[in-house]
Symmetry: C2
Subunit: 200 residues, 2 copies
Amino acid sequence: MNTIYGMKSSGNCYKVQLLLEILAGPYRWVEVNSAAGETRTPEYLAKNPNGKVPLLETEEGKYLPESNAILCYLASDTNLFPKDKWLQANILQWLFFEQYSHEPYVAVARFIKKYLPEDHARHADLPRLLERGYQALAVMEKHLAGQEYLVESGFSIADIALFAYTHDAAIGGFDLSRYPHLQNWLQRVRLQTGFVAQEN
Amino acid sequence: MNTIYGMKSSGNCYKVQLLLEILAGPYRWVEVNSAAGETRTPEYLAKNPNGKVPLLETEEGKYLPESNAILCYLASDTNLFPKDKWLQANILQWLFFEQYSHEPYVAVARFIKKYLPEDHARHADLPRLLERGYQALAVMEKHLAGQEYLVESGFSIADIALFAYTHDAAIGGFDLSRYPHLQNWLQRVRLQTGFVAQEN
């Protein structure tokens, strides 16, 4: 059975939880509190030298970090990550978009507003994070005006990856009412069989 | 024939150039100067709504953004991106690591030092960028102490992706002499048939 080391309140970890619940297969979840330094212990760094969650441990005891690589691996024999070369490239495009153009702004704004005291210096970053985050959300809105899911073949791990930090972007100060197509897409993801809401 | 819209002085674009030169197939390169606003024109945004380079246009006129998704697509029938599920997951892990834990620090430090005047406010970011960039380089050094390439099967698109912003990290202020295994790995990449140095 696969084991996931993760922190359910982290969107990057929730992605993996959401996929596993939708796939409805057995898995073991080990909650690791990165905020309390549990990803920086010698034992954890031996498993993942980059000291981050989530981390997959396979039944054979092999380790795989990086949330979106874990999604690809776990979904690789399912219709959530189809074999077609062009579809795979398009799914990967959204996964890289998520980690490069979306998460560093939408997730970091959420982190600052949710976890840091109001007088913390990083609140000064919020205007820039909101500007860049809105750019990413606008790219999604424009794309979702033309299709139901991020990739034309249907619901995929691209939707799972982007859902994770979009569904509660309001916590970071983003006004999602500007984006009706994106809101409809969020609802379509919530209606997937096996869907589970994120724990706080 | 595939067309690449890119700016050769950008590491994200150089990745794609390097792969195409190593694959030795025909391609067309359209130089796009993002620093001069050429990725924000209506014409370019119609091709890539995220307004970034590189961008692949296939022979059939389909578009694919995101440098690492382009690498996966172009290498998908070659031994630079083997079909084995676990190897693919490991290559993807390094590609996501590159975009999430390496590029935002190593490449951004290079950008600030190379392109922004010395009195520009963003120079204040450099200490944090160096700290995080060194963390990423240390993860690579530790891994490369045990194997010749990032993935055990041999040279792959993971090496191409990580080479792009590591080979000239010194421009951003990183001292690579701390990392002998990483330096040997850089040299192994330079010795690949078809290797081409990055244009400035």
